[in-house]
């Protein structure tokens, strides 16, 4: 019994420390452990782009996707958003084709159209070789991807070259490749002398120069029919990065700050009320063990909140719902244990022994029940989309935490106070409902 009393005190102290951690990190605005709120709660914009990889070799797709991510990240940083998040997703083995997606989360940005427009300015730059195929009498010009794309761009500059129009210096865009790009450019130009190397900007061939000689040094000039303003804009946009493959907006969502704030308030309200009713029910029905379960439930909640902060789990409206539901589920195991204990008491066992056996006998049902919940939680997480994952993650964490709390915390607390022999008062405290044992 002394052992359990020591453990119980340790558990309470740890719970208190965790509670202090949750409280202090939340009241300190500079803490890095504040709750991370999802876009649906904090307000913000989420854009999902699909990358068109039809021109990219399968082996290069993963790399092209990470290059895409880098460029879009740089773009997004122009927004001055606190914590932008750009993620990639290569998905869906089920439907046969692989889809490459780019998910851009912009917390605090509520003007979705401005965000779409700004990201849409990112140019797609690609160098393709012209190849002519003759079918019968018609000659068709096709363009073959060379692998040299905006990924290898180091910088761009504006210059004025001698144009065809008399006397006027035509604006040109000078491109500097990085080392890797320079090597690739030299290789392509040396192997294809006499052929046309078209420069594609946003999917259109804007310049189709013929390769005269191998070009070392990694510089290329785009001399399209630019006006000075167009050329300047292009240089600016290229300097923020050029996309290796074209992207298109597939889905988007934005939540204003008012809706999010209302959702947080409602979630907290529902959480407090839900917790209070469950705790009251447990105490009213199971008396002393119920009180123990309620204390274990407080520890469970504090532990969950701390874990959510430390991992960190991004909280969404569905995640908060998951947390509240998990409070109801977390006492399930306690109910099983207490009912089992009661049965043993009814058979005339002494209180402590009854508690011991109760925990042991309830174990298989608790194990099987938690495992099936983990199965569905795991598959939910696989299902994807942020709103579903927000719930799934909290659900899985909740199931794990409730498992630990039921088989350890409730047991420690109960064994710390229940005496060996039964007396009238203990009989009352350990029985339940409206019936006598």
């Amino acid at each position: 019994m002394t052992r359990f009393r020591v453990l119980a005190v340790v558990a309470l102290v740890v719970g208190g420390l965790l509670a202090y951690f949750v409280w202090s990190t939340e009241t300190d605005p500079t803490s890095s452990y504040r709750f991370k709120l999802g876009l649906d709660l904090a307000g913000g914009t989420e854009l999902v782009y699909k990358a068109d990889m039809s021109q990219t070799a399968p082996g290069d797709q993963a790399e092209a996707l990470s290059a895409l991510q880098g460029v879009i990240e740089r773009r997004v940083n122009l927004f001055g958003v606190a914590e932008p998040l750009v993620q990639t997703e290569q998905a869906s083995a089920l439907s046969g084709t692989t889809d490459n997606r780019l998910i851009v989360a912009l917390p605090g940005v509520t003007d979705i159209n401005a965000a779409v427009a700004a990201l849409g300015e990112t140019p797609t730059l690609e160098f393709r070789l012209a190849s002519t195929t003759t079918v019968g009498t018609t000659t068709q010009v096709g363009y073959v991807s060379t692998g040299l794309t905006g990924r290898y761009l180091a910088s761009a500059a504006l210059q004025f070259g001698s144009g065809a129009t008399a006397g006027l210096a035509a604006p040109q865009v000078l491109i500097n490749f990085n080392d890797e790009g320079a090597k690739l450019f030299e290789k392509i130009t040396s192997e294809n002398i006499g052929q046309t190397l078209a420069i594609f900007l946003d999917g259109q061939p804007i310049s189709t120069p013929v390769i005269q000689e191998a070009i070392p040094g990694g510089q290329a000039t785009i001399s399209g029919r630019f006006t000075a303003t167009e050329a300047r804009d292009l240089v600016r946009n290229l300097n923020f990065g050029a996309l290796p493959v074209p992207i298109s907006l597939e889905s988007s969502s934005a939540v204003g700050p008012t809706l999010g704030a209302a959702a947080i308030n409602a979630g907290v309200m529902a959480g407090i009320i839900g917790f209070a009713i469950v705790a009251l029910f447990m105490i009213a029905w199971y008396r002393l063990p119920g009180l123990v379960a309620a204390i274990a439930l407080v520890e469970y909640l504090v532990f969950m909140l701390a874990v959510i902060k430390v991992i960190p789990v991004t909280l969404t409206a569905s995640g908060i719902a998951g947390l509240i539901i998990s409070v109801g589920m977390a006492v399930d195991a306690n109910v099983l244990i207490f009912e089992r204990t009661k049965e043993e008491l009814r058979e005339g066992k002494e209180p402590r022994e009854a508690v011991h056996i109760g925990f042991g006998r309830a174990w298989t049902a608790i194990r099987d029940g938690h495992l099936t919940m983990l199965i569905s939680g795991g598959i939910l997480f696989w299902l994807g989309t942020s709103i579903v994952q927000g719930f799934a993650l909290v659900f899985v964490l909740g199931v794990l935490a409730s498992f630990i709390s039921a088989v350890s915390l409730s047991r420690i607390f109960l064994l710390a106070i229940v005496p060996e022999a039964r007396s009238g008062m203990w009989k009352f405290l350990l029985s339940s409902g409206i019936r006598k044992i």
Partner: protein
């Protein structure tokens, strides 16, 4: 004992509820939201008085979007569903709406049709996979039980119960959809999947008790009929089956009544599912084992 001896009556009652739910699904249908079909959903709040819905519909008709469905949300907001809008079309709709009345856009979601289709595919697979995984796990967990019913018999019963536990909330949802205009979204699927994992819990508690009784009977050479064992197990575990669900029901009620509007429908579906899961495990799951076992002993 009562439930087992009168099981036919309970089979009839649950069967009727099930038939009602199925009837609702087939006659009202389950309208799919943009998460599955692709499309755009705007939520707009009017700062002053909200114009009539028909007026708003006329305003939107200026933008060529096909049919737009406009619904009142609360006292001052509307939700507008259309096919997938381009950013330009979105701007255009916002402009026509704000011509006469100052508005705030509360939320906007747009899903491309391919993304929606993929999600629908994945969701179906997930439901199927969860059901199968749980049934297999039950069959595994009861592997030592063989008489009078092989362990996969328990797994099979669990599948039947899971199907029941999904149809009931889906049926209720079909009724809601009919009268409230709600639609099947990603959260509805989330609720169903979470229910699959949770509602089987009560069934496990009863099956676990049957498993325990069968084991002790074998040891003590007790010749109790399977029917008696099942009946005893049900009545012994009744309180805990109800109480475990009750705590979740209480938490869900708090969510339905006080929680965020975004998760209200989700909580309601789960609430109905948990209730259905509880009565199905007491009235259906365990009693179903008896005719199944009889088939096997022949």
């Amino acid at each position: 004992m009562n439930i087992v001896t009168h099981r036919t009556i309970y089979f009839w009652i649950t069967g009727l509820i099930l038939a009602g739910a199925l009837g609702a699904i087939f006659s009202f249908g389950l309208p799919l939201d943009i998460d599955f079909t692709g499309g755009s959903l705007m939520q707009v709040r009017y700062q002053d008085e909200r114009p009539a819905i028909t007026e708003i519909e006329q305003q939107i008709a200026v933008v060529p979007l096909g049919t737009a469905s406009v619904r009142a949300v609360g006292s001052d907001a509307v939700s507008i569903r259309t096919r997938t809008m381009t950013p330009e079309e979105h701007v255009a709709v916002l402009e026509v709406l704000s011509q006469n009345d100052p508005i705030t856009e509360l939320a906007y979601t747009s899903v491309g049709p391919t993304l929606g289709e993929q999600f629908a595919n994945k969701a179906l697979w997930a439901l199927f996979a969860v059901g199968l995984a749980i049934a297999l796990y039950i069959a595994f967990a009861f592997r030592k039980v063989s008489r009078p019913l092989p362990s996969w018999g328990y797994g099979l019963t669990v599948i039947a119960i899971l199907v029941h536990d999904l149809i009931i909330p889906a049926g209720f949802f079909a009724v809601f959809a009919r009268f409230n205009g709600v639609q099947v979204d990603a959260l509805f699927i989330t609720a169903l999947l979470a229910l699959l994992g949770y509602s089987v819990n009560d069934t496990i508690v009863i099956f676990d008790r049957i498993r325990e009784h069968l084991a002790t009977n074998e040891k003590s050479r007790n010749t109790e009929s399977f029917e008696q064992t099942v009946g005893k197990s049900i009545s012994e575990t009744m309180t805990r089956s109800i109480n475990t669900s009750l705590t979740v029901v209480l938490a869900l009620l708090a969510l339905v009544l006080f929680g965020a509007s975004a998760t209200r429908m989700f909580s309601l579906v789960m609430l109905i599912g948990v209730i259905a899961g509880t009565y199905s495990s007491i009235l259906l799951a365990a009693p179903l084992l008896i005719p199944l076992a009889r088939k096997f002993s022949k």
